[in-house]
Symmetry: C2
Subunit: 441 residues, 2 copies
């Protein structure tokens, strides 16, 4: 079969691209090797935040336990998983159905390039004028003895029962979020990290606030522990590192994610890649100009997040169908570590801020006794505002149970460059979080 | 004592004006007849939304009761009131202290004009070059036999114990909000309204959704009932209207608010007023050009809300201290009925929309099965988008447990006239409510 464009992968990137290409008049096919819809809706952000719903709700109640809300709640894992499944079970059918309804061809199977213009999917050979690789990532395997005993985030979100003891290896946002869920659901939770700088993309001071909060909630962090082996015990597992041992019932590997390249045989298409993903130019073209790539499968500086992937997909559609187009640029990219308390940031990256310490100055505000946070009894609420030499706000990190909402206001304020004076002329719903913007800026 | 400006009233309007005038170099005094800080922080929006905190938190949990969050909560009124008092008790001292620290003179007592340039406060006569009247409003008294048995919103928020049966007379936002709180706290709640159009400033269709929700929660609405008498019973009260009787333990009058003019003796200053408040020109000047007024005490079209009062105060400072200035204009004014489910609106008023039905067209979207609402199990979530003839979005009303957050995004989107195309180039924290904006516009 011959297509104008074949999209490899049906996650948020592949899907957005496929519909966009179709709308642009292309004959489009999508190949998916696993679940239609990809990581985000099936075993990524969406189900994770469904699990988080009960954690958030429970925390809201607990915070007001001495303030008028009497009674206790606990999390029933089995019911929670059923709730999650009621969402995820319908995703693949619905996602595939959407493509079919739009007259986009669908192929289930693993795609491998056989040449720069042809793919093999099962027994079929598919050819196209252009390709878009959007195969995403999967959990990285730890390369240590006993690695076969490790489960990953996908396994965690499908656990029929939550064991009494859970350990996470790695301290990125996935480990933080799933550890928060496991702890709220009653497990004894440990987080093991090879250095002492978890969530390294976030402001260190506010990361420490989050760590302290989770420690108070009972999560045990083990920093500077480089796991050397996982041993199977009669019950559970033993995690071993120099001067360190820990017994647990479940080990979740969360030491990063690795691009899904294995089956693609990119060498047959002469597409270059590195260990962090496919190499592209500023037009999302690989080393084969008619083969594009977008989303988490890219080797890139931009964070590997769902809305970033969709954004790139939208760009790819333009790049692949319009004669002239500008190089890809990104808008401001907010990132959030979800939980009962959330850590959120936007603006110039921590890496850039650290690279030029004299260029930036910052202000850390403790907001916990502000009305907004007092009302809901957030015990900790902080914000760090980073300014450049001209005193322009260039980055914001906030930590509270409302940090995700607050960072979204900053998405608009910073993208539209709304000045403090202009902002003070706007009226927000009162009382509410957005009113605080005037006092923050 | 002679001042540059005397501000009458220390609510949000008076306070904002006093600090602004002081900063502009004026010699300022503030007169307060009751609690420093006025209605909003002492017995208005702020304590109301503190009471609402537990209602919101309880509802978040209840919504997920079959979805993994097990256990029951209930509201303990006494503990809730103590929580509220822990906030309100410190307000007057803190507010007065703030003025003193800023070297603004404070006078406790009822102010009456003795001439256009002088006031009497207790035994003292105070004179000034300019005056700003910001005395706000109080609950309107019903003019029926037994009116003396009615309590008001201030009384409700100070109840040491919540009686088993509470009735609200009137169906504006205060009645809706306090009824929601009383019902969540376990009372049998009735709302009596003289016509069948509650919350008349909001979209009728979505008001009906809110009414239906509250009915499901157990609140009983009695529309088209014009109360003719309140009788004291051995226990509680009997509310009487033609073909209507209801027994209750507490009657809260919430039939609107009336400007605080009684003691001012405005006639001695030759300041004109009507039953809805003080008359001002577009510079907030009364019929005496050196006497200004702002906030809820004004006869005005703009909603009588805290942030609107503060906005007017800021304008008044400019008008009173700068040689040249533009007439007062308002930005877009969002309004919210708080509750477990919230009703929020922004944009062209319902009155204006109704006046030119052919000019506008609208779209009503049911959002309850969108991921955002599914995740938290909002059973009802709707939005009405109103467009003008040129298909520009001119008004938004939404109803859900996230409506206040959603309307605040629209504050920025509409004030900054961000087009759907531009918005789709922004990236918000994912998953999150703000992402929905792209699909709504």
């Amino acid at each position: 079969m011959d297509y104008d464009v074949i999209v490899l992968g049906s996650g948020p990137a592949g899907m957005a691209a496929a519909y966009g290409l179709k709308e642009a008049g292309q004959k489009v096919a999508v190949v998916e090797s696993y679940l239609w819809g990809g990581t985000c809706p099936n075993y990524g952000c969406d189900p994770k935040k469904i699990l988080m719903s009960v954690v958030e709700a429970q925390a809201r109640g607990k915070a007001l336990a001495q303030k008028g809300l009497v009674g206790e709640t606990h999390i029933n894992w089995e019911a929670l998983l059923a709730f999650k499944k009621s969402y995820t079970d319908q995703i693949p059918t619905r996602q595939k159905g959407g493509l079919e309804e739009a007259n986009i061809a669908t192929y289930a199977g693993t795609a491998s390039f056989v040449s720069p213009h042809a793919l093999q999917v099962g027994e079929q050979i598919l050819s196209a004028h252009q390709f878009l690789i959007a195969t995403g990532q999967q959990a990285r395997q730890l390369d240590i003895p006993g690695q076969e005993y490790l489960k990953n985030s996908t396994d965690f979100m499908a656990l029929p029962h939550l064991p009494p003891r859970v350990a996470f290896v790695g301290a990125g946002y996935i480990a933080f979020e799933l550890a928060t869920i496991a702890r709220a659901a009653g497990a004894e939770v440990h987080v093991i990290h090879h250095n002492d700088r978890p969530l390294k993309g976030f402001d260190e001071e506010l990361v420490q606030e989050l760590v302290a909060h989770l420690q108070e909630a009972g999560i045990v962090f083990h920093f500077d522990v480089s796991l050397s082996e996982v041993q199977k015990e009669r019950v559970g597992y033993r995690l071993v590192a120099p001067d360190f041992e820990l017994e647990t019932d479940l080990v979740i590997g969360a030491t990063g994610r690795t691009p899904n390249l294995g089956a693609l045989h990119l060498e047959r298409a002469h597409v270059d890649y590195g260990k962090n993903g496919i190499l592209v130019n500023e037009y999302l073209q690989t080393t084969q100009p008619h083969i594009y790539a977008c989303g988490d499968v890219l080797a890139k500086e931009a964070p590997k997040l769902t809305p970033v992937a969709s954004y790139e997909a939208k760009y790819a559609v333009t790049a692949m169908t319009k004669a002239t187009h500008q190089p890809l640029t990104y808008p401001l990219l907010p990132t959030v570590v979800f939980g009962d308390y959330r850590l959120a940031r936007i603006g110039v990256s921590e890496k850039e801020l650290a690279a030029e310490p004299t260029k930036y100055h910052s202000q850390l505000l403790d907001l916990h006794d502000w009305y907004t946070y007092f009302r809901i009894q957030d015990q900790k609420a902080k914000i760090k505002l980073v300014y450049d030499e001209a005193d322009h706000l260039v980055a914001v990190t906030c930590f509270s149970s409302l940090a995700d909402e607050l960072i979204n206001y900053f998405v608009l304020v910073l993208n539209k460059k709304i000045s403090p004076a202009e902002l003070s002329d706007y009226i927000f719903a009162y009382p509410g979080l957005a009113n605080d913007l005037n006092y923050l800026l």
